[in-house]
């Protein structure tokens, strides 16, 4: 874990595997406006999961999918779902924020079995002046596909295309 490294409109920039080639890396960033929405609604667990799981763990992704199989209208683009990449893996730890009355704190916990972590990254229009490939938009746990380790259940119904998978 480290302090966020601000670059332009991005609160933090981290490495991710290149959707075109899992052996290469690209830079992805968390946009200020996306993160501010998380902060605005006091979703402290999402903040803890960003720093605890994603910041140092996105390179551990085992699968990358492209395209959400659901309507997504963004900035007038009715096909904005095509620009979303989904990185999936099974982190060793989960984090949540304990909302105790006097002393809230992050709690590290072994995730429940047969769960995978999915991070949605929106591909930025290129060329990007900050050399950022995509923006980290959202993250959560989903059930694991019984036939494909580290992939979300029903990935064929959720996502349009599997770009690559890594042997682990």
């Amino acid at each position: 874990m480290r302090q966020p490294q601000r670059v332009g409109p991005y609160l933090d920039v981290i490495d991710a595997r290149d959707p075109a080639d899992s052996l290469l890396a690209v830079r992805v960033g968390v946009r200020d406006d996306s993160f501010q929405q998380v902060l605005h609604h006091a979703r402290l667990t999402l903040v803890a999961q960003y720093y605890g799981i994603i910041q140092g763990g996105l390179m551990d992704a085992v699968h990358v999918f492209r395209g959400l199989k659901r309507p997504l209208l963004h900035a007038g683009n009715t096909a904005a779902d095509d620009n979303v990449l989904v990185y999936c893996w099974r982190p060793e730890r989960d984090f949540y924020w304990s909302h105790s009355q006097f002393k809230g704190e992050p709690i590290s916990k072994e995730p429940p079995p047969k769960r995978v972590f999915a991070v949605l990254v929106r591909e930025e229009s290129q060329p990007n002046p900050y050399k950022v490939f995509g923006s980290v938009e959202y993250w959560s746990w989903v059930d694991e596909d019984p036939n494909l380790q580290c992939a979300p259940i029903e990935h064929g119904e959720r996502y349009k295309k599997r770009l690559w998978s890594r042997n682990i």
Partner: protein, 138 residues
């Protein structure tokens, strides 16, 4: 050494806000997120439009489900003649989803969980516009 506790607290400039049940529009992913409790979430897909949120570590059956997501919300509203120029009534949006998706899983989810949650948490309307950026501090 930077700890996770420091990083989270620094995100809020040291003044941790109190979580309140909320509904908000995620403009960049075109979805409405309804969240009754801040916790580690398991997302379970009901259909292309609805996802139910479960607490990964619930300690009682009545604490299992903590919210839901309406995906493609603006797209759905546009297709079904629901105006987004003013805040969208969540209960009416759920009724439109019920009419559009007659499958039992959607009927059960909306009638037994989503509508009661919206009423219980007094979540009325959601503006399909990006949120203001200032954090709510207590």
């Amino acid at each position: 050494m930077t700890t996770l506790n420091d990083l989270v607290r620094n995100s809020f400039e040291g003044k941790l806000p109190r979580f309140r049940p909320c509904a908000y529009y995620d403009d960049r992913l075109d979805c409405i997120r309804v969240v009754a409790r801040d916790c580690s979430v398991l997302e379970t897909r009901i259909n292309p439009v609805l996802t139910v949120l479960e607490d990964n570590y619930y300690d009682a059956p009545n604490k299992r489900y903590i919210g839901f997501t309406v995906k493609g919300a603006r797209h759905f509203c546009n297709e079904h003649g629901i105006s987004t120029s003013t805040p969208v009534d969540l209960s009416k949006l759920l009724d439109a989803i019920l009419r559009t998706f007659p499958e039992p899983s959607v009927q059960i989810f909306v009638n037994l969980f989503a509508q009661p949650l919206v009423k219980k948490e007094k979540i009325g309307k959601v503006a399909l516009t990006p949120d203001p950026v200032e954090p709510v501090l207590t």
